[in-house]
Amino acid sequence: MSGEQLAETAELARRIRHLEALLVDKGVIAWDTVERVMDGYEYDLGPARGARLVARAWIDEEFRDRLLEDGTKAAAELGIAGAQGEHLRVVADSAEVHNVVVCTLCSCYPWAILGLPPAWYKDAA
């Protein structure tokens, strides 16, 4: 990292610490809250759950139908649920139709089944 990048990162870290300090002072959080939440949340975060849904749909046609009908309910059958997965809709590609799913306004992404989006998904390009 360049000297300039180091300085920028240090400034960002200072700003974050400042917000945390204000929240700790109010008793809203503790100093270790964010770290502990992230450790817990990241433990299971990633596209493996989404892969399980797809794989199940490939081998079980009735599950596939349920998944396309109500994604949230079908995912719950496999114990998959949670933040950014509350209203899941699944669409299927075919020989005639190729689906592309994207947030057209910000960077919304189905964290509960795919984890966090890659950097290019959030990029302006």
Binding site: G27, E42, A81, A83, H87, W120
Partner: protein
């Protein structure tokens, strides 16, 4: 608002660079920002919609150059005082901050936040509202220019599409973001022909399906 963040259809940003390094975070600070945002939203201190509005209202000249998670941080800095969580004038000497919470309170807090994340927070509401439109109806995206948070991209204003699905009754982000209640209403998937949307700019065949709230739509 007519935010610079509403980039759909804009030229000049170049090709998408899909070389993924597989990393969620490029610096511990990014992980901290994400976590802080997650904690603050999960505790119900600021709604997600308000954080989004905070991002959208970053001035254009900064927005286009700012790193992604710095926009989240900037939004939190702005929104925490606006939502009454922090006092705008407050500064704090970090060295003097003691923990206010006991060890058991700290444990309960972490457990509570993780449990809430695992449970999710549905945006549907069980209210008796009759949808104005049905599957197959032609609808026009209204030419409205709200000053606040809004979830219809500018490029679709005035276009006519076809209702594909009635998703259900959902809270309205435009209202939640500005502490104006939930205003639950029908949310539709509306299909717009690519030829209608982009006409001379594409030879693509197909449709764009947008999730649009009833208040964004009118009969053509």
């Amino acid at each position: 608002m007519n935010s610079v963040a509403d980039l759909g259809g804009s030229d000049g940003f170049g090709p998408v660079d899909t070389r993924a390094d597989g990393e969620n975070w490029h610096g511990d600070w990014e992980r901290k920002v994400f976590g802080l945002d997650m904690v603050v939203e999960t505790l119900g201190l600021i709604p997600t919609d308000a954080v989004r509005f905070g991002v959208e209202s970053v001035p254009p000249k900064h927005y286009l150059l700012m790193a992604y998670y710095e926009k989240w941080l900037t939004s939190l800095e702005k929104m925490l005082p606006i939502w009454g969580v922090l006092d705008p004038a407050e500064t704090v000497e970090e060295t003097t901050i003691d923990e206010r919470l006991s060890e058991s309170e700290r444990d309960a807090l972490v457990e509570g936040v993780l449990a809430a994340i695992a449970a999710g927070a549905p945006k549907t509401r069980d209210v008796d509202v009759l949808p104005l439109f049905s599957v197959g109806d032609r609808v026009r995206a209204r030419r409205i220019h709200p000053a606040g948070h809004h979830r219809m991209p500018r490029y679709v204003r005035g276009c006519v599409g076809t209702v594909q699905r009635v998703h259900g009754i959902f809270v309205l982000p435009d209202a939640v973001a500005h502490n104006m209640g939930e205003q639950p209403q029908p949310l539709y998937s509306v299909s717009f022909d690519l030829a209608d949307l982009w006409s001379d700019r594409t030879d693509a065949v197909g449709a764009l399906n947008l999730d649009l709230y009833e208040t964004y739509l009118e009969a053509p």
